[in-house]
Symmetry: C2
Subunit: 216 residues, 2 copies
DNA sequence: CTTGCACCATACGCTGGCGTATTGATAGAC
DNA sequence: GTCTATCAATACGCCAGCGTATGGTGCAAG
């Protein structure tokens, strides 16, 4: 993609966001430690001289990258899931989405691995809690009382995360094709109980189907 | 092998295993990159001169640490869980154990974060697959057919891992006290369907049925 | 044209960690 | 009491990455 280019003749210089994007790529590929100024500069075809014009130091770059990441994560949820009126279908969508993008999963795990850093932890916490809160809302919409909804949300979220980890650490253990769909159906039907104590009106004849496998 | 003198007045020199243990501590505290020769030596009250007598290089230390880790993980499972005859109780024990030791959880996550490294990945895979296989056996003992048992094992293991991650990344989101027990009960009762254990009569009870068999 | 600004290159010093080489210390064997 | 193997200290060279200082270049406005 090309640069914003607000004015007529624009230069093709690097922007802060270009660096942030490159940093996220580096994180997904090699963890937070892979965010090194000089290697990144090389990859972008420039030298450190460029970097230190845009950023005060390495930490500022990491911060910018994490801000970009947080924005993307938030947008993803809102854009792709929010419009769905049915809470059951919303959770299913979340599940599918969580298992769809290999890269975003790697990113999350890599960033979360740097939780100890005071720079990283606020971002991880915000993103995680936002997701869990969103899940909790879904369960509440399913008719669960707040405390139970929180338990289910945590449970489901843990399963999300664990699947990411399995996919990264032992991809052979993750099935593909129809067997994966079977696996998905098992988790979904288990994690979204449709028998809520109170007035349970409707049954959902949802069919879970998706293209399995690892994408980029 | 082992130390030269088993007699009373033993020297207080460092052994390979001392270094490996210290390395594991470092990993749990700061990730694999925290396994640095000189800092570790300082922490052990010696200099690099000692280290390079015991190990060829840093990678050898990491390998030794991971071997120790793998051994410990294996022993843990065998010692604490194996003697339990009831498969249901075995899974429960696994679950409780997985949530018990904060350190071992951190260790696992930290090591798994280095999956990309060719040194690390074999260890992570062996440990993960061994655990999942063990879980699968438990589910088979519960009466599940192999494929379904594998699905449930993966599911349960993912939840294990995810809980570890939540505990590390957003500890506030993890309840304590009675509320945690409630949470635990929810997960256990959900992840271990007991439909089989009730009747001992059936040889291959297809608990699988849930409600998935029909919709397509 | 020249001035100012935005962006980048180059060159430098600094630090921390890896690995090696050499020497030093100590305990047990003889 | 010497000798030797085992373990550790010291000193060195090396490299990668951070951060700084300073100079260079293109472009747009005046």
């Amino acid at each position: 993609m090309s640069r914003p280019m607000a004015s007529p003749a624009s230069r093709q210089n690097l922007s802060v966001e270009d660096w942030a994007r490159a940093a996220l790529d580096a994180i997904a590929a090699g963890g937070l430690d892979a965010v090194a100024v000089e290697p990144l500069a090389r990859r972008l075809g420039v030298t450190k001289g460029s970097f230190y014009w845009h950023f005060a130091n390495r930490e500022a770059l990491i911060r910018a990258a994490l801000e970009l990441w947080e924005r993307q994560e938030t947008d993803d949820i809102l854009d792709r899931v929010e419009p769905e009126p049915d809470p059951y279908a919303r959770i299913v969508k979340l599940f599918k989405q969580a298992n769809a993008s290999y890269r975003s999963g790697r990113l999350y795990l890599a960033i979360a691995a740097g939780e100890d850093s005071p720079v990283v932890s606020p971002f991880v916490r915000r993103v995680s809690e936002r997701r869990m809160n969103y899940l909790q809302e879904c369960y509440r919409d399913l008719g669960f009382e707040a405390s139970q909804a929180r338990h289910w949300a945590r449970f489901a979220y843990a399963t999300f995360m664990g699947n990411l980890q399995i996919r990264r650490d032992t991809p052979e253990a993750m099935p593909t094709g129809p067997e994966f769909n079977q696996y998905l159906r098992l988790m979904i039907s288990t994690l979204i109980p449709r028998t809520v104590a109170a007035g349970d009106s409707e049954q959902h004849p949802h069919v879970v189907s998706m293209h399995a496998g690892s994408s980029q």
